[in-house]
Structure formats: structure tokens, C-alpha cells
């Protein structure tokens, strides 16, 4: 067969081959990204995501978007430019949340018996959709970094509010003011339970009371813009098509 002759025999077969490769490619991309992103997520912000008594108004709100805008930025940099796929960030976050939910149900609950309402993962998809939406509408990585990454961080707390609000209700317990989440955490003792390990509500910002979450979210949004830029170029680097030696 000539080297220039097509490997397929008809236009119809070319379409079938192309579709099959698309499905296989999406499966591979989804699960490889899931693995890498999940390792990154659990070891950079995992403790805040594992336990509801870590999901505070300050560090959870700050750390989670900053750490999770990374892979979406890197994936967007390649899949939008090379393949015109406009759902890179959503794919990353859905993959991550799927991996987290499977784990929380079958392992946190299924193996070590923590109730699901202590170990549920954060909701990430709305921010990811906004990130993708800005990229699709503007076709600009700069606009995506400035507006998309900002939105990614700002919507994080409101999107999770419906699931976390009840657990932030204040209660008096043995004369001490706590939240429902705190009490749940103290009832389910973990090897990491000591209060000095639990990094929540640190610093004096909490004295401002009601303003803690918005201030944290805006700070997170600012850092997310910078992180988006950095990870955009990290994504480009990993998206290289170079060969180490040409023979």
C-alpha cells in the first residue's frame, strides 16, 4: 500500500473510525486526568475537602479554588487550542468530583464508617462551567484568567452554601460555642483530630464576623488569576509534541 494512501476505505469508515477514536480518547483523557488531578487535590487541599469540620469560612474558601484552578487551566490550554474542545475545565472538575464521591462513599463510609454528611466533597462544577464559558465566549486566555478564574473562586462558597449552611449553625455544647460540624467532628474522633492540626478560622479576620467568607473569596479570586496564568504555561509545557531524539 502506498504511504500516501488512506488507511480507511470509505468516507463512512473514516467517520466511524474517527468517532471510535473520540470515545476512546475521551475515556483515556478523563481517567488519566482524574488520577493526576485527584492526587494533586487530595494532597494540597484534601483535609479541607475530606471533613465537614474543616470546611470553614476562611481557609477552605481560600485554599480550595487556588489549588483547583490549576489542572483546568492546564487542560484548557491544550484541548481548546489543539482540539477546539470547550469543556476542558468542566471535564477536570467532573472527573475529580466523581473520583472523590466514589471514594467518600465506598471508602470513607464503606470501609471506615464515617457518615456521608461528614465526608462529602465540595461542589466544583459551577465554577468550572463559568471558566469554560468565559473561554468559549471570549476565545481569550487573558479574559479567562481575569474573569473566569475570578468567577471560579467567587462562586465556590455560594455554590457550596446550600450543603454547608446547616453544618455551620451555632450551638452551645457543654458551655462552649461550636458549630454542628465541630460537634460531628469531635464525635467521630480521627488520628488527625487534635485541634492544633485542624487548620480552620485561623488569624484575627474572624473577629470581623460576617465578612470572613467574602474577603477570603476575593483574596482567593486574586490568587486564582495568577495561578491560572502559571498553570496555563505549565499546560503548554506538558502539551509539547517534541521528541527527544530524531533518528
Amino acid at each position: 500500500m502506498s504511504s500516501t494512501q488512506s488507511a480507511v476505505r470509505s468516507h463512512a469508515e473514516a467517520v466511524q473510525v474517527s468517532r471510535t477514536i473520540d470515545y476512546l480518547g475521551l475515556f483515556i483523557l478523563f481517567f488519566v486526568i482524574l488520577g493526576g488531578f485527584h492526587v494533586h487535590a487530595m494532597l494540597t487541599m484534601g483535609d479541607w475537602d475530606f471533613w465537614s469540620d474543616w470546611k470553614d469560612r476562611r481557609l477552605w474558601v481560600t485554599v480550595t479554588p487556588i489549588m483547583l484552578v490549576t489542572f483546568p487551566a492546564a487542560v484548557q490550554a491544550i484541548v481548546w487550542e489543539h482540539f477546539r474542545i470547550g469543556f476542558g475545565a468542566t471535564l477536570c472538575c467532573i472527573a475529580l468530583v466523581l473520583g472523590e464521591w466514589i471514594n467518600r462513599y465506598f471508602n470513607f463510609w464503606g470501609w471506615t464508617y464515617f457518615p456521608i454528611n461528614i465526608v462529602f466533597p465540595a461542589i466544583l462544577t459551577p465554577g468550572a462551567i463559568l471558566l469554560d464559558g468565559v473561554l468559549i465566549l471570549t476565545n481569550s486566555y487573558l479574559a479567562t484568567a481575569v474573569f473566569g478564574a475570578t468567577a471560579f473562586a467567587l462562586v465556590f462558597y455560594p455554590c457550596n452554601w446550600v450543603i454547608i449552611a446547616g453544618l455551620h449553625m451555632p450551638v452551645e455544647y457543654h458551655g462552649i460555642l461550636m458549630s454542628i460540624a465541630d460537634i460531628s467532628g469531635y464525635h467521630y474522633v480521627r488520628t488527625g483530630t487534635p485541634e492544633y492540626i485542624r487548620m480552620i478560622e485561623k488569624g484575627t479576620l474572624r473577629t470581623f464576623g460576617k465578612d470572613v467568607a467574602p474577603v477570603s473569596a476575593f483574596f482567593s479570586a486574586f490568587v486564582c488569576i495568577l495561578i491560572y496564568f502559571i498553570w496555563h504555561f505549565i499546560g503548554r509545557w506538558y502539551g509539547t509534541t517534541k521528541f527527544l531524539q530524531q533518528t
Binding site: 500500500m1 494512501q5 488512506s6 488507511a7 480507511v8 476505505r9 468516507h11 463512512a12 469508515e13 473514516a14 467517520v15 466511524q16 474517527s18 471510535t20 476512546l24 480518547g25 475515556f27 483515556i28 481517567f31 488519566v32 482524574l34 488520577g35 493526576g36 485527584h38 492526587v39 494533586h40 487530595m42 494532597l43 494540597t44 483535609d47 475530606f50 492546564a74 487542560v75 491544550i78 484541548v79 489543539h82 482540539f83 473520583g99 472523590e100 466514589i102 471514594n103 465506598f106 471508602n107 470501609w111 471506615t112 464515617f114 480521627r190 488520628t191 488527625g192 492540626i197 505549565i234 499546560g235 506538558y238 502539551g239 509539547t240 509534541t241 521528541f243 527527544l244 531524539q245 530524531q246
Partner: protein, 253 residues
Amino acid sequence: MAATSASVSAAGEAPLLNQRNLWCFGIAYYCVYYLIVRWYEGVYGWSAGLDAFAPEFNTYWMPILKIEVPLEFATASFIASYLWKTRTRDFSTVSNREILRRHFHHFVWLVAYANAVYWGASYFTEQDGTWHQTIVRDTDFTPSHIIEFYMTYPIYICTGIGCFMYSYTRLPYFAKGVSLPYLLVVVGPFMIFPNVGLNEWGHTFWWMEELFVAPLHYGFVFFGWFSLGILGLFAQIFDDLTGLIGKDVCPDV
């Protein structure tokens, strides 16, 4: 996908995509195996895995470690050796259609790799977090580590070596040199395994708290980033496929 197989089977030749390989090797093998492993953890984690100095720990957990590690080295060596030994030495005799068929085989390898990476890096890694938040660790070889570090990581490493070697020995596009993104996507997750050495050394040298975001774990994070090499690898694969599906039958290419 079924249509792809059927259309060429009618011509009396092997299908472009071997469905049995895809579903059995790529998907079912890993899933069934790890479900059995997970069942074993559920039963013998609690009944025999709480105290590393207890006799039952030596009965139910240490043999797994002693068997799996040499078996994994042997498997990786066999896969690499076999694929190298049976490599294509003259690509000029290989038709474009055969190269396309090999691309599909390569995709099956990558599906298996994606599957193995999921179980190792996602499922059993985060599982480790909840086990060590529940049971005080008294050894480096906890039930969770024996499965996570010494079983699932080497299995995806073996599968990654298989992917890389298959492409390097069967596909002319990848035989022309060492693909940098391919190297990243295989070697990065591979380096997570040696990083286990740092992790265990740190856990025994310092009085470590059970904190998943501790800096001691950042080595895993760094090497996890290398999975993004899949983006560059796909750009290379599709570059080759675009040339294979020629304009004579598909003007859209």
C-alpha cells in the same frame, strides 16, 4: 464501535478495534481484580490489619507484600522484553491499514493505563487517607499501603511501560524517537513509586501528624502533575492519525 469492527470483519480480516481486548483487558480485568482486592481489604483490614505485630497480620497481609513485589518486577520485565523482542524492524513493509489497526491496539493499552491510573492514583490513594485517619499506623506496611503503594502503583507502572513499549516498537510515528510527552506521562507516575521511599522515611524519621496536605507528600503532587503529558501525547497521536486517514476518502481531514 461495533460498526467499526463489523465493517472490516466482512472483508475477512482482523477488525481494526478488537472489542474483546478493549472490554476484557482494558476495562474488566482491572475492575474485577480491584473489586476483589477491595473486598479483601474490607474483610481482613479490620479483622487482621489493625496491629502489625499480631500473628494474624503476618498471616493475612505480609504474604501479599512478599508475593506482589517480585511478581510486579517480573511482569514489567516480561512485558518490556516481549514487546522489544517482537518489535517491527522494517516499517516499510507495514501497510497504513495495519498501522491504523495498531493505533487501535495502542488505544486499548491506553484505556488499560487510564483504568489502572484511576484505581491507583484516585481510588486507593484517597482511601489511604481515611484508613490512616481511623487506625493508628504502627508500620510502614499498613494494609492500605500494601495495596496502594506496592500493588496499585506498580500495576499502573507495568501498564504504562506496556503502552510506551508498544508504541515505540509498533508505531512508526513513535519509533522515530522518544516522545517527550509520552515519557512524561509514564515516567512521572512511575516516579511516584520511588517517592514512596521518601514518604516512608519521613514518616519514620519525624513524628508526623496524620495530615494529608503535609509538605512531606508534595513529591507525590509534583509527579502527579506529569499525568498532564497525556495532552501532548494526544496531540502526537492525532497528528499521526490525520495523516493515516487520507484526504482521498475524507476531505475533511
